[in-house]
Amino acid sequence: MLPETNWLHELLSSLKTPGVEIVGGGTNMLHNSIYNKTFAAFWYFRDSLKNTDEFEIKSTFWANNFAARRDLLIKYPFPNIRPMFRMSCIFLAQKLRDAGTTIYRNNKAKVYHPPPNGINHFMVRALIEGHDSQMARKLFNHKTRYHKIPFPIKNCYRAARSIYQIIISRKAVNLAFIELPIAFSIAVSYQFFVCLGEFTAIINPKLINGNLRI
């Protein structure tokens, strides 16, 4: 995670605004290699694609880049949703919204998130993503059509969506046309391991949770 200049100033300035109890920053990815550009195009952290410096109201925040008043976090800690690795921030955001707290984002408070580092980390991140997806399906009775799509159809959909996201974000992340096949291969490989993680969580939920660290 690399903060940009004035990141702390921006985050804290937002928090000084009356009525602001929690503010997130923008989490971006660098566009300096095919690998980075691919992840910038299809992974979670796509803030830089919007190219906005707005101070805005959001439904959620990135847990890797936010500031909040301590009282708020003591009252509303991140929920413990073991055996999941991630997603606590989504449920905390939901809880805060239900309690009437507005979540702000200052897009000028930028940090850069690295993509998975090396093959091992690449596989671990994807396996955990698949594991969490399956756990979320079991633990939370999602009502949306997307969450009702069964395994492994959902994973095929994800792979197709990743390719689509790469195509539509190609210019924003400066991916050359000739680089597209490599980008597609990276994204589809990642989604393959996500699928594997989901499958593993179906047959043995403790296998990933007990053996992997993100």
Partner: protein
């Protein structure tokens, strides 16, 4: 946001040293360097508290401290606290950090 001359607010920065083993050491060093630079560039009346939470099963405290010392030449100007927490996961570390933070605005940052 317009820059201000002095910051009267007290803040705590919480850094979870959770996936550092999988992240590039070079990136982690650059991150620490920039965080320290950001703090030093702002005129805080009250010195911010920077808490680095780690699991002793992942990394030894001495090597983490040595890593921090090498990350920025002016690290001594920062109120750094290296805190050992066993068995806590990412979000649990955040909750722990918020609970023990001294200052008013905990801010979270993950490696």
């Amino acid at each position: 946001m317009e820059p201000t001359n002095n910051w009267t607010e007290s803040i705590s920065l919480i850094i979870e040293w959770e996936n550092v083993l999988l992240s590039q050491t070079h990136n982690s060093r650059k991150m620490l360097y920039r965080v320290i630079d950001e703090i030093l560039s702002m005129n805080f009346i009250l010195q911010p508290e920077v808490m680095i939470l780690f699991d002793p099963e992942d990394i030894q405290k001495d090597s983490l401290i040595s890593f921090i010392q090498n990350a920025h030449p002016e690290y001594e100007k920062i109120n750094l606290k290296v805190i050992s927490v066993s068995g806590l996961k990412y979000f649990e570390m955040k909750n722990y950090g918020a609970a023990v933070a001294v200052w008013r605005y905990p801010r979270f940052f993950r490696l």
